[in-house]
């Protein structure tokens, strides 16, 4: 379950497709932190993982080729050398290596600059991992609105917890 500023949304994990990633994320939960809005991938908020919650997982499942849908939840890891420019909007610990949960909450999801920047994927050299591991069962409007608010009002606390298995 994803709880953001008094709203919530429930996601279903894709254990049949990416079991190792799902297991790692499940074992890491609960996790919370300050979500920030994307600036390359359209309607997406990100929760950076740090400390004992930081995940460095290998690629799993079918390759993603820039097609992202609202409701997709992606595990994302980027090696330090893949950092693009200064990431001054991020806390210092995330400005190079980055591990995060990416929550796509509306249309357009994942388009924009991120979709057509082949070098950004780093897939072939394992410099970047992007695994679709869960999907929101639905996207309640209040939850989507709070995600949109992150873009305008700044960071908001996001809490991710286990619901049931």
């Amino acid at each position: 379950m994803f709880e953001l500023a008094g709203t919530s949304a429930v996601a279903e994990m894709h254990e049949d497709v990416v079991p190792k990633t799902c297991e790692a994320v499940w074992n890491m939960l609960p996790v919370e932190g300050m979500a920030i809005h994307a600036n390359w991938s359209s309607r997406e908020i990100m929760l950076h993982l740090h400390g004992e919650k930081l995940l460095r997982l290998p690629p799993e499942g079918p390759a993603r080729r820039g097609t992202t849908a609202p409701g997709d939840i992606v595990y994302f890891w980027r090696s330090p050398q893949m950092s693009r420019g200064k990431q001054l909007a991020y806390s210092a610990e995330f400005q190079r290596e980055l591990s995060e949960l990416a929550i796509f909450y509306g249309d357009p999801a994942g388009g924009g600059l991120a979709a057509d920047d082949p070098a950004r994927s780093g897939r072939d050299l394992n410099l970047q991992v992007s695994t679709l591991f869960a999907t929101l069962i639905d996207i309640p409007k209040p939850f989507a609105q709070k995600c949109e608010d992150v873009r305008h009002k700044g960071l908001q606390r996001l809490v991710v917890t286990r619901l049931e298995r």
Binding site: I36, S42, K86, Q87, A89, L113, L155
Partner: protein, 149 residues
């Protein structure tokens, strides 16, 4: 040579309008100034901050580029879905004025690069904007004002 002041949150910067290569756009812009409103950060283009403009007149394509660079002051029609969470009923794009404050940015439409009118270049204060915009991403976006310097 006309200079404009860009005030974003706590900082200021200055841009030189490109009246030679964008005479129509810069004439229109000077008539519009001062412009004041809620600053927005791009969700699709990287390090871009912009204002939505309320201008009834259609802005012609002029001095366009799809290769925007740091410090560019640009005017273009941005797809409405990148501004609002849904498509407004009768509106498909909004006229915006914005700037690029760091590399790794490019203006995109719904299906690829989007050409923008290059109306000026930020000549002073780009570093301040490059600090202020990320701060506002974390703490919330405030106002932006563009006026004659």
């Amino acid at each position: 040579m006309t200079r404009v002041k860009i005030a974003l949150g706590r900082v200021e910067a200055f841009a030189q309008l490109d009246e030679q290569d964008a005479p129509k756009s810069t004439t229109w812009l000077k008539e519009m100034l001062p412009i004041h409103g809620q600053a927005m950060h791009s969700m699709e283009n990287g390090r871009e901050v912009y204002l939505v403009l309320d201008a009834p007149r259609q802005i012609e394509e002029e001095n366009q580029t799809i290769y925007q660079t740091v410090g560019d002051l640009i005017v273009y029609y941005k797809p409405a879905i990148f501004v609002r969470p849904e498509w407004p009923r009768h509106i498909r794009d909004f006229l915006v004025i914005g700037f690029i404050y760091e590399r790794d940015s490019a203006i995109r439409g719904m299906s690829g690069p989007l050409a923008t009118n290059l109306v000026g270049k930020i000549t002073e204060g780009i570093d301040a904007l490059a600090r202020e915009a990320p701060r506002m991403r974390r703490e919330g976006f405030g106002q932006m004002r563009i006026s004659l310097a």
